[in-house]
């Protein structure tokens, strides 16, 4: 559970720090009648969506960190004394995972280019970047599917070994998160291809998709690294 505790401690630490910054030590009864303009938010809309995404990423981080903790506890004989752990047979990670990793990096780059382009006002290029980001992500998912097929063909069944089971579960859940992102991406991309300029909501979608793509890339790199070194 150490990783989870660390992750939660990190999130909690950021949160407490942020609260402290907000001057949790003010004495509210002394501030009567005054109006403290600095600490009023009044910023729903885009700001709310941004914060909403970040809160969701915190939830997803907790989710993946717990899975990684479970992975290490299940694998590592030191963590649970006395359990018969002779059954862990590492998965031979399919080479195609390197390709899919590259695809995901490309997808993230496409999204980032789209974001930058929008900020510059270059709508054409933003459209292209957005399209590339989504298509690379779809290609990534196809590649992950191929990796599953290869493992199945090589006899790595989920029930055969916990290492296999974890491989399918971790890649599967990461893929599901990406699918959810692609849903939002699909709506934003179709809006971009219907109009010739980007409205506020489109800008916001592109920005949020970019953050989400980077986040899922980061998660994938951590997961892939974990699968590689174990």
């Amino acid at each position: 559970m150490n990783i989870t505790v660390a992750a939660v401690a990190l999130v909690a630490g950021i949160y407490v720090w942020w609260l402290a910054v907000r001057r949790l030590t003010t004495k509210p009864w002394e501030a009567q009648g005054t109006y403290d303009g600095r600490d009023t938010a009044q910023m729903a809309g885009p700001a709310a969506a941004r914060i909403g995404l970040w809160v969701f990423l915190a939830v997803a981080t907790s989710f993946f960190a717990l899975f990684i903790t479970a992975y290490l506890m299940r694998m590592n004989p030191e963590a649970v004394k006395g359990v018969d752990l002779r059954d862990w047979r590492p998965v031979a990670d399919p080479a195609i995972l390197w390709v899919t990793t590259a695809l995901l990096v490309a997808g993230s780059c496409g999204m980032q280019l789209a974001s930058w382009a929008l900020r510059r006002g270059d709508f054409q290029r933003a459209r292209a970047g957005m399209l590339a980001g989504g298509l690379f992500a779809i290609a990534f998912l196809a590649g992950q599917w191929l990796a599953w097929r290869q493992l199945q063909a090589a006899g790595y069944y989920a029930a055969g070994n916990p290492a296999n089971a974890f491989f399918y579960v971790l890649t599967g859940l990461h893929g599901l998160h990406l699918l959810g992102g692609l849903f939002v991406w699909g709506r934003a991309a179709s809006r971009m291809y219907q109009g010739s300029t980007a409205g506020d909501s489109t800008r916001l979608s592109v920005e949020l998709c970019t953050v989400y793509w980077h986040y899922l890339l980061l998660v994938w790199l951590v997961l892939f690294g974990l699968l590689l070194i174990t």
Binding site: V80, K81, G82, D84
Partner: protein, 377 residues
């Protein structure tokens, strides 16, 4: 009307902290004792399963033999590794009681064959879960002699509340006498193969009532035996011999039976039981009428031990019910309910059934239940 009173609040925090520390410190000191097993502690193993306990002592070498959960089966209930020389002298205790010597620290190793259980003797003040896949432990020093009940305190399925057993704390002499009566793994596996011819000869006495093919005879109050597994027959013969059945007034038929099996020795029992196993298992005639559909819901409880098809199971110590003499089942349910069976202190499996027999009330519901069991053949 101060909104806060810092000094007071800090005082309260400080005093609370002191109070909490004062409570925690002795707790941690005692816990340090809990986790430190004395070097001279004897080792005992308690094994939990749905829904009974068995025990293993290390024997003369003081070391428990290796076990493997995948070896567990009807012939090897402990999952003993036959190739491990350290396991040959292990003493296997199938119940009903574990004996412990007075004033000797003992480390209880705990394991489980199926699900989580918890080894609890309320008077010991220590308890620990048994976890399949690992060996947990606790230790204690018994300080007075007597009998103490073992309970399971981790919800382990339908029979959780009926998973009872007993610890008996003895003085040194009594303990040695008990130990001398127990069998080692080597002794249990070295039993000679059964002699079917001798078994057939010995069975001729039984056949007078139970029938040539052990098909049973209601007129003589003799139930069908064919189809009952060896472990069940053996145990019941021993129960009759040891007075767990037919040892107390109130059941003339059982008293009669216990007189008949009294002279049988171990070898003869093995032979007879093996012979009965060769007889054809033909379903007995139904004699009880009832609403089988209504009985199905009562059978839900029975199915947990006796199996959904009434096939019985060695691991729950439950005999098959399907195709057996229904009038006999009815009478035994009655005996269990009324305390004529399952009340003897040594008969823990019987006690378990006695607890569960009360789940189904007598009368129509029992008839319906037996009618349902009759459909399982």
């Amino acid at each position: 009307m101060q909104p806060e009173y810092k000094k007071l609040e800090w005082w309260l925090i400080g005093l609370t902290t002191v109070g909490v520390a004062a409570m925690l410190a002795p707790g941690l000191v005692v816990w340090a004792k809990f986790v430190t097993v004395p070097d001279d502690a004897a080792v005992v193993e308690a094994v939990g399963q749905q829904w009974s306990w068995s025990f293993r002592l290390p024997g003369e070498d003081g070391v428990l033999g290796a076990i493997d959960a995948t070896l567990i089966g009807a012939d090897n209930p402990f999952g003993m590794d036959a190739n491990d020389p350290r396991g040959q002298d292990d003493v296997l205790v199938f119940g009903p009681e574990l004996h412990l010597p007075l004033d000797k620290p003992v480390k209880v190793l705990l394991r489980s064959k199926d699900v989580l259980h918890n080894f609890t003797v309320p008077q010991f003040r220590v308890k620990m879960d048994t976890v399949p896949g690992m060996v947990t432990f606790m230790w204690l020093t018994p300080t007075r002699t007597g009998e103490f009940e073992i309970l399971c305190e981790e919800l382990c399925g339908m029979g959780h509340f009926a998973m009872r057993s007993r610890v008996v704390v003895d003085d040194a002499d009594t303990y040695q006498a008990w130990l001398a009566n127990q069998r080692t793994y080597a002794q249990l596996t070295a039993r000679p193969a059964a002699d079917l011819v001798a078994g057939a000869t010995a069975y001729s006495v039984c056949s007078a009532c139970h029938g040539i093919n052990a098909e049973g005879n209601q007129a003589l109050n003799a139930p069908k035996l064919a189809g009952l597994p060896k472990w069940y027959l053996t145990r019941q013969v021993h129960n009759f011999q040891d007075g767990m059945r037919g040892g107390a007034p109130g059941n003339d038929i059982a008293i009669q039976m216990s007189a008949i099996v009294e002279p049988l020795d171990e070898t003869t029992i093995d032979n007879v039981v093996a012979y009965i196993a060769t007889l054809p298992d033909k379903a007995a005639h139904s004699t009880i009428r009832g609403d089988a559909a209504a009985g199905a819901s009562s059978y839900i409880t029975c199915a947990y031990c006796h199996g959904a098809a009434g096939q019985g199971s060695w691991s729950t110590n439950a005999p098959p019910l399907a195709g057996m003499s229904d009038w006999y089942l009815a009478r035994q349910l009655q005996q269990f309910r009324e305390g004529h069976r399952g009340r003897h202190p040594q008969d823990l499996h019987g006690a378990q059934m006695a607890r569960l027999s009360r789940v189904v009330p007598e009368g129509k519901q029992t008839d319906d239940l037996l009618a349902y069991i009759n459909t399982l053949r």
